[in-house]
Amino acid sequence: MENAVKQIGKDVVGAALFGGILLLFLFGDRLIDPSSIPKEVLNVSTLFLSIILEAIPFILLGVFASVLIQTFISEDTLKRFIPKHPILALVPAAIVGAFLPICECAIVPVVRRLVLKGMPLHLGIVIMVTAPILNPVVFASTYYAFQTNMDVVYARMGLAFVASIVIGAIIYFLFRTSLPLKKRHHSHEHHHHSKNRWLETLSHASDEFFDVGRYLIVGALVASVFQAGFDRTTLLEIGGDQAVAPAIMMGLAYILSLCSEADAFVASSFGSTFTIGSLVAFLVYGPMIDLKNTFMLFAYFKPKFVVAFIFVVTVVIYGSIILLQLLNIL
């Protein structure tokens, strides 16, 4: 009897939710007078929603790739393809990352799944930081944004490749074979009844979408507040300094959380005042780690690992940019 009452209560909650959404679908834009809301709030919410809408297809792609790996690639198969030597395996991992046409939202669930399946953590990280930069779409957009200066394009691609290997090596020495994933995982394979297998796959996909989605939403919200409120024009005066400019541009790449397909155009808008080195820093650092991705990493990895990862990426990218500048390459 009590159960029945509970069940009815839950049905009512669900129905009310659906009714509410339907109501907003039909009349939502007539319920509120937008002029009664402060402009700042409208700007933030518009930017917020655009980040979410842009990310949803790619999160879904990543989630599906992840559940397909889960269902169709066994741990043994994966192990056979990974070279035994942890350091020698770094280069093939970077090449795999270069061939995966996946951007930074989609790669996080995929890498987490590969690591769960037994791929060494540091190799997963290499794939995670190379895939969003070394891919044809990003090459094309960087090329169009920097047609007058191909150095930026080559430096972006080259540095991403080399830095990813260095980052992977450092992660290996810091964490070795430990698994800083947040949730306990099962070493056994799932044995579902065959008729349920596809349904289970879809169900997993949905669950994973909600797992990572909540972090995406928080990340997008914080990023959109910075997007709307942060005055980029104040940066223009410090763009010429060899040491400060790369740091500034890395910070900017972090808080803006742009897609790697689009960031080249934003970088080129700083082109007239900022050093080439700082633009490359922006273009390499942003896709590897940004605010939005930090939150997504928190969904899967232990906080200690996320902090260490951000630190390593920051030091390696800043260090290489300074080095390249000293060598007069940038």
Binding site: L17, F18, I21, L22, F25, G28, D29, L31, P34, L42, N43, S45, T46, L47, F48, S50, I51, L53, E54, P57, L60, F64, A140, S141, Y143, Y144, A145, D151, V152, R184, H190, H192, L199, L202, S203, H204, D207, E208, F209, F210, R214, L221, S224, A228, D231, R232, T233, G240, L258, C259, E261, F265, S268, S269, G271, S272, T273, I276, L279, N328
Partner: protein, 304 residues
């Protein structure tokens, strides 16, 4: 308990599908995501409908035996407060999208990003790139002639690959646009070629001085503008409006002082040049201003 979560999640997924449908039907999707990315949105809509439908349907059937070992990996929120909080997070974008989709980014955002009068030239480099490169190459050749030749071959192949048809047709388009601009008496800056036209006017300013120009956009002023100056500007979007940059042309004239920021205008005038923050940029003089409604497509999009 699990079936309740499935039910709610199914409804939220269906809600996102409804949001995408509404934005598509009202053609407001382009206010968030560039048309180039719309195929991905269609994909998302399809997936959301399937996932949402499946979750709602399965929440009604008895599913306890199927969830033998999956729960450990995807733990459900434990307390009612956590449940409410997490699902509210997912409802937030939904409510914004269903209620406030009319809003277009305004000049307060533009002023924080800074306007571009065409795609920017890059800053001068401190060293001379060609010389160092040549020196390096020579050293490399002396060290390892065979390896060097192999590298050169690779590099040539690379260049040949880059030099593909897409890039060539883009170059042709640019040449054509340049010819068109120089050939015509009145340049009309269209939405489709907004960024490239503005860039072109900036690059070939000397050849274009004295020509008539027509351009639409919203009114925007930098902090250091005198009262007779404004920028007629648009947000140029690559993927989503979070990556938008501001593109525009400077307008000078006594009749612009009374125009409020964010007013949409069509400006017709003559191209002249002026100096702004130590660089020479185009300016529209003797402007004729016409107030217009906010266009259906307030944003312009990168053309690559």
């Amino acid at each position: 308990m699990r079936s309740f979560h499935m039910f709610i999640r199914g409804i939220i997924l269906a809600g996102y599908a409804l949001l995408l449908i509404k934005l598509l039907l009202t053609s407001q999707l382009a206010n968030y995501v560039s048309p180039k990315m719309h195929p991905f949105i269609y994909f998302a809509l399809f997936v959301l409908l399937i996932l949402g439908g499946m979750q709602i349907w399965r929440s009604g059937t008895n599913t306890s035996e199927c969830h033998c070992h999956c729960d450990g990996e995807h733990p459900m929120p434990k307390t009612p407060a956590a449940t409410v909080f997490i699902y509210s997070l997912f409802l937030l974008p939904l409510m914004i999208g269903l209620m406030l989709s009319n809003h277009v980014l305004d000049s307060s955002v533009a002023s924080k990003r800074g306007v571009q009068f065409g795609a920017q030239p890059l800053a001068e480099r401190s060293n001379s790139p060609i010389q160092t490169e040549e020196k390096d190459l020579l050293e490399e050749y002396l060290r390892d002639p065979e390896g060097y030749m192999k590298k050169v071959d690779e590099r040539v192949n690379e260049i040949l690959q880059e030099d593909n048809s897409a890039v060539q047709s883009k170059e042709k388009e640019k040449e054509q646009l340049k010819k068109d601009l120089i050939g015509t008496d009145k340049i009309v800056v269209t939405d489709e070629k907004y960024i490239s036209t503005i860039t072109m006017i900036n690059e070939h300013l000397e050849q274009l001085i004295g020509k008539k120009v027509e351009i639409t956009g919203f009114v925007f002023r930098e902090k250091d503008f005198p009262s007779n100056q404004l920028v007629v500007a648009r947000f140029g979007v690559t993927c989503c409006i979070a990556d938008a940059s501001v593109y525009g042309m400077l307008v000078k004239g006594e009749n612009v002082a009374k125009l409020k920021d964010d007013t949409w205008i069509k400006v017709t005038g003559t191209i002249q040049q002026t100096t702004y923050r130590q660089s020479i940029i185009p300016v529209i003089e003797q402007p004729v201003i016409e107030m217009i409604e906010v266009p259906d497509r307030p944003y312009v999009y990168e053309e690559y």
